[in-house]
């Protein structure tokens, strides 16, 4: 039963990702990406990662969608004719991709992969807060440096744009 629910959510996630890529409107693409994120959040909850799931829902489904929608609204969309022309060009140029994908799938199905997923770790900490704050403090330092870099990058980009 649990596996069935997982399969349904996985299927919905793949469907929303496909819609994100195939839809013509950029705004709908951004909404599709938010939907994909929401489906991923459900899967993360089901795979016993609630803290990461909350981050995914609030940041990826919320903040990144807002960033995308703001970027789309600040730029001009392509005309309908150009979009249709682009789709035709795409179909002509990449007709072989689905065939390549099916062939790769057939070749991979004949190979016998064996994974050994048991890691040699003596103690397993169950609380992510302890792992993050006590065992991996350098990750936090990296996150702070990345956030500062991003903030400075945005400030410099928009200052340059303002000057021009």
């Amino acid at each position: 039963m649990a596996l069935n629910i997982d399969i349904v959510v996985l299927f919905l996630m793949a469907l929303s990702a496909l819609w994100t890529v195939m839809t013509r409107s950029l705004l709908r693409s951004a909404i599709g990406l938010a939907l994909t994120s929401a489906m991923l959040t459900i899967l993360m909850f089901r795979l016993h990662a609630p803290l990461a799931a909350v981050f995914e829902l609030s940041v990826c489904s919320g903040l990144i969608s807002v960033v995308f929608i703001a970027t789309i609204s600040l730029t001009q969309p392509m005309s309908q004719e150009k979009v249709l022309q682009h789709m035709r060009d795409r179909l002509e140029r990449f007709w072989y991709l689905p065939i390549l994908l099916i062939l790769t799938g057939i070749v991979l199905s004949f190979l016998n992969f064996k994974f050994n997923l048991i890691l040699p770790v003596p103690e397993i900490e169950k609380d992510p807060r302890i792992v993050l704050w006590n065992q991996r403090p350098l990750d936090l330092l990296g996150q702070i440096i990345m956030l500062l870099t991003g903030a400075f990058g945005i400030v410099i980009l928009f200052r340059e744009a303002k000057k021009k």
Binding site: L10, T36, T71, T75, L157
Partner: protein
């Protein structure tokens, strides 16, 4: 690996590969910079799901959650800076088509 984890592993792997292919296809066929960013996002989502799955299977959920949180922070910063660059390019060139961004070409 427990029996339940094993039954979960392969269906999840299949859908992770599908998500990765969709993201890669988006990156490959598009000329629009915003759509390329969306493809990049889909690739990152596939990697996130793979990390969470491996954490569940190997019972290292806490470690994987901390790694995923770090990945999400990186993702946000990358997308925010890339969106800023896209806006700057649009102000400069009035287009988001990568075929028209030839100013730095050799």
């Amino acid at each position: 690996m427990s029996a339940q984890a094993l039954t979960l592993f392969w269906p999840f792997c299949l859908f992770i590969v599908i998500l990765f292919i969709i993201g890669f296809y988006c990156l490959l066929v598009t000329f629009n910079l915003i759509r390329a960013l969306i493809g990049l996002e889909l690739l990152i989502k596939a990697v996130t799901l793979l990390l969470v799955l491996v954490g569940y299977v190997t019972q290292h959920e806490a470690l994987i959650q901390s790694l995923v949180i770090t990945l999400i922070v990186m993702e946000v910063v990358i997308i925010a800076v890339a969106a800023g660059i896209v806006l700057g390019l649009h102000q400069h060139n009035k287009s988001l088509d990568v075929r028209q961004l030839r100013n730095l070409k050799g």
